[in-house]
Symmetry: D3
Subunit: 241 residues, 6 copies
Amino acid sequence: MRILVVNVNTTQSMTDSIGEQAAGAASPGTEIVPLTPPFGAESVEGNYESYLAAVAVMEAVRTHPDPFDAVIQAGYGEHGREGLQELLDVPVVDITEAAASTAQFLGRTYSVVTTLDRTVPLIEERLQAAGLGARCASVRASGLPVLELERDARAAVDAIAEQAARAVEEDRAEVICLGCGGMSGLAERVVERTGVPVVDGVTAAVTIAESLVRLGLTTSKVRTYASPRPKRILNWPPRAS
Amino acid sequence: MRILVVNVNTTQSMTDSIGEQAAGAASPGTEIVPLTPPFGAESVEGNYESYLAAVAVMEAVRTHPDPFDAVIQAGYGEHGREGLQELLDVPVVDITEAAASTAQFLGRTYSVVTTLDRTVPLIEERLQAAGLGARCASVRASGLPVLELERDARAAVDAIAEQAARAVEEDRAEVICLGCGGMSGLAERVVERTGVPVVDGVTAAVTIAESLVRLGLTTSKVRTYASPRPKRILNWPPRAS
Amino acid sequence: MRILVVNVNTTQSMTDSIGEQAAGAASPGTEIVPLTPPFGAESVEGNYESYLAAVAVMEAVRTHPDPFDAVIQAGYGEHGREGLQELLDVPVVDITEAAASTAQFLGRTYSVVTTLDRTVPLIEERLQAAGLGARCASVRASGLPVLELERDARAAVDAIAEQAARAVEEDRAEVICLGCGGMSGLAERVVERTGVPVVDGVTAAVTIAESLVRLGLTTSKVRTYASPRPKRILNWPPRAS
Amino acid sequence: MRILVVNVNTTQSMTDSIGEQAAGAASPGTEIVPLTPPFGAESVEGNYESYLAAVAVMEAVRTHPDPFDAVIQAGYGEHGREGLQELLDVPVVDITEAAASTAQFLGRTYSVVTTLDRTVPLIEERLQAAGLGARCASVRASGLPVLELERDARAAVDAIAEQAARAVEEDRAEVICLGCGGMSGLAERVVERTGVPVVDGVTAAVTIAESLVRLGLTTSKVRTYASPRPKRILNWPPRAS
Amino acid sequence: MRILVVNVNTTQSMTDSIGEQAAGAASPGTEIVPLTPPFGAESVEGNYESYLAAVAVMEAVRTHPDPFDAVIQAGYGEHGREGLQELLDVPVVDITEAAASTAQFLGRTYSVVTTLDRTVPLIEERLQAAGLGARCASVRASGLPVLELERDARAAVDAIAEQAARAVEEDRAEVICLGCGGMSGLAERVVERTGVPVVDGVTAAVTIAESLVRLGLTTSKVRTYASPRPKRILNWPPRAS
Amino acid sequence: MRILVVNVNTTQSMTDSIGEQAAGAASPGTEIVPLTPPFGAESVEGNYESYLAAVAVMEAVRTHPDPFDAVIQAGYGEHGREGLQELLDVPVVDITEAAASTAQFLGRTYSVVTTLDRTVPLIEERLQAAGLGARCASVRASGLPVLELERDARAAVDAIAEQAARAVEEDRAEVICLGCGGMSGLAERVVERTGVPVVDGVTAAVTIAESLVRLGLTTSKVRTYASPRPKRILNWPPRAS
């Protein structure tokens, strides 16, 4: 089975790190193919960049030369998953939803710890739209930009663990979701600090994508995610990109 | 005051029609500038096309050479409004939200009548995300594609009026919103058939945009719609488009 | 166009101030007619007084000798708007709803800052009933009674700005609504303190009423706001008042 | 113990009938005092009339010469209960809420069958505001005006039983609430037709009022229902009425 | 009239205390029959113990030798009420729901103060499932285990009153429900401390059960609480118990 | 890895069939251990039987002699999952939740088709309590009792497929969940009839349990599912069973 894992930003080192994280969780026989979108921001932290990423991820997937069995969109709180579902027959798994869905099996409530405060509303709305908001205790920001996670890993871990601990105590979260593709690998430290299960979206998404493929389940095509109707698309895709 | 009214699809005749509709509702002294996005589908009827439109509309607005006081995104149930709000300081008004917001002053509940069944979930989610879903009685589809509205106007009116009448009777709607930019102009016929007020999103949006400008109100920049942080955007915008 | 702006309390100086505020926001050609109800409390701060005001406002409007094009009910969180809508064909705009509806175009969430703590539940319920509660971050009280706003303006501004600032920081509001007819004029100071847009209900209501009239839209008469059925009303209106 | 049972309309024969119904459900030692409001509509069927009734009921209660232990507001879906709670220390029970609250102990869901279609939204909003809406399966109208209930009792019973049966079958109601003060006495017939428990608001309210008094419980005065602050009330109460 | 009041734990002294509390609230002519379940935990403080109690309470009731008119399940936030309703025709009243339902007649919002933190989610879910969650301001824990309430009554009162006071101030509760069968008798002290009405579930349940019996109302048998279908039940009830 | 799959009823042939279904979905290296509860109804179709099953399943699991890595509770809409989570450290997966959670990755909405009408409320409440209700389009009953599924398979398939088709068309479901342990194996026929993905709870639960084990995730023990406190449990477990 081959699963595309698509980064939402154009920083290759993050694609690599996400790919490794995914590969570590994959079953024997599953090939993980990490992809970087052909255009867009080096880190995605807001609506403008996220909409751009949505389209770039679709281009990356739509033009991928080899066959694949499932797609993982590896960005937290991002736009675009519904568009991928229209374009494809194979399952599409968003890591925000994968983490929340997994967390709900482990505790009555969960919180998400993400990077910047401005990302909080995007994650809240993604969870709400996905029907996964009822048991979300809170979405908290560590205050660290995405790229900072790579630059100063220790400070990042501390800031994230701090918010996770407050989510458990003040917001009554029983599970923590790490709210950023780039946070993969920090789980262990947050478990130590909080004593609750910590879910990483990328690895959760890999097991869900594998499960859907194994069960022979694909995206429903009756209404919301029906294939696009044939029509003229002007000036797209762009030549130069 | 100058207001950009941006079509979401690339069909110039629809831009023209939307522009005329908007101009008809504008106050003396308001200049309506209709824009067609630089790329994208000839009609937008689903998530893939809508995400593409979101980015194309942002490009059209971001690269517009002249100053302006407000922007209207003239597509029903489309993605992207939040991105425009990040990029701009001036008010941004989405016609889906403008219509619903206006309808709520006229009756206890409203229904939206749109084109295709597949557009229904997009509109429902846009209204929900905008906090305008509580008094939405239903979103109904006439079954006619967007471009059909131009080709056979009489059939379109009949199909739309039929669904509007059912919304009033079966779903207990007290106001009807015309759920498509291209439906401007049909209002009168639907009023005749149903006896309830009919709101057109484009004209409602013009009055709201004018009001915000007159009151000196602009988009809040504290969190969700803060300006994008400075960063490297790879391969964007595309050269050729 | 002539718009009645009806104060909910019987303090003439507040009617004057509301009338001035409204006139300042009106378009050229719009005549603002401020009205004081024929009976009721000098300030409305609770359910008993608000129900009394509801009926008094209806009497003021029902017996107004001249024709008019729209009515604004200038009280925050008050009862009665639905009754006016039954009695009239022209649009009726409540300032609580006008402010919230306007705020939703400017940010993802809004808070209301009002006078007394006891008024908070009335405003919350009015917003909920109007379908405008989903994006309300909080309703906060400054602790100052309505009439105090006139007596010690500086203290009033400080108390209100303080609560507005806390709403932005603690409740994550992105827009502030000034929750009292008598607060008109304080907006500027609250903007300075919080850095977010501040919406005044009276001026917002004027632009909305004008918009509805210009668009030719009137209250739906099919169910909730159908005209009262003809019947015997005993001992009403009262002779002496 | 003495309980005031206040009709919302000014039709004395309905006050009598409500009083009898209440007396039939009262415990030995409970005195039922039926009151007719001093002014208002002969039947209350909409917001204007209901707001008038709210104030008239408060006048009737406020000026009642003898002491009493509880008040029942005997109108379905009416405004005003919150005002009574401010004015009084003794418990106030609204029959709409009494019926729903009682029904919830008997089945998972309940429906209300009322008179006119225009009354439906008032009942829905009263239940919603009272926190009793979650298990309301539907509010249905028989199409008969209030006063018709007295004029042609057999037709009334049939129309009501018909809607009750549809509520059980189509809306999955498990209990029926009779949604009008004047429907007292029809319960038996509706039970026969539907096979589910039928709750009458007046009798339910009597047992609840008695229970609150017996338990020594009174209205909370900390915030929402605090007594009105002392202030000048202009031209009220009216002389002539 | 005879009412069974069933303790959920197997501590006889608590059954006695609950029985006395119930008897104190009963009308003349009502016989209160306190029951201890035949098996289960000495105190119920979590899901495992609560499910066990649910079944034990059903056994106690199902095998009770004498006729009875109503049943009260005297545990806070426990499972099982729906099962009793299936087994019986007479009314079944859960004290969690009785308290909340009563509290809603006294104030706009209520809070529950219970024993351990781990009980909070059970109470929240019971209220939610019962359709009584909308006006619940909070469920707070005093931190004291159930049996501690008997051992050190003064400390218990203090801890509970402290949380009640915080519920009123911080969570804006207007009424307090005592969230444990064993808390009966503490009401007076909590009233003194908070100044708001305090509802005890056992006494509230007694008046509700009496009211339902007096009104001739019984559990609806159409769907959710229909009697169990006849079938083979293996190895149940257990011989030895 | 060893996974216990616990039937909720005491019909051995259903345990066998569920075990086979589960084994068919398991990865190489996963051992499926089917269990029948030690007491309870031959088929579980209502609250009384479901509460009994909850306790019986806990006994079966608690007394299982061999170690295991996860538990699946193989009943649709049943009580008890929370109790198992308290008793165990390993993951517990309920098939109702497994199916819904899986369905949400495949379409915007899903419907459940179950056996008897009386089971519908149990499933609705389980989904609601689990935070999975927001995207549930409907729960529909085929009208066939559980044991009938085994006796007349063809009629069962037809009745279920009929309701599934109506869910897709009338309730706008985009995915179907088979709402009964005993329905395993019918998926293919329902796919043929409806054209939408069909999720079976047992196989979905197997992949989820495997995923949680592989990711090293276990139930959170901080609050809701903390282990029971040590205490005296009277007369339990029963000797004879």
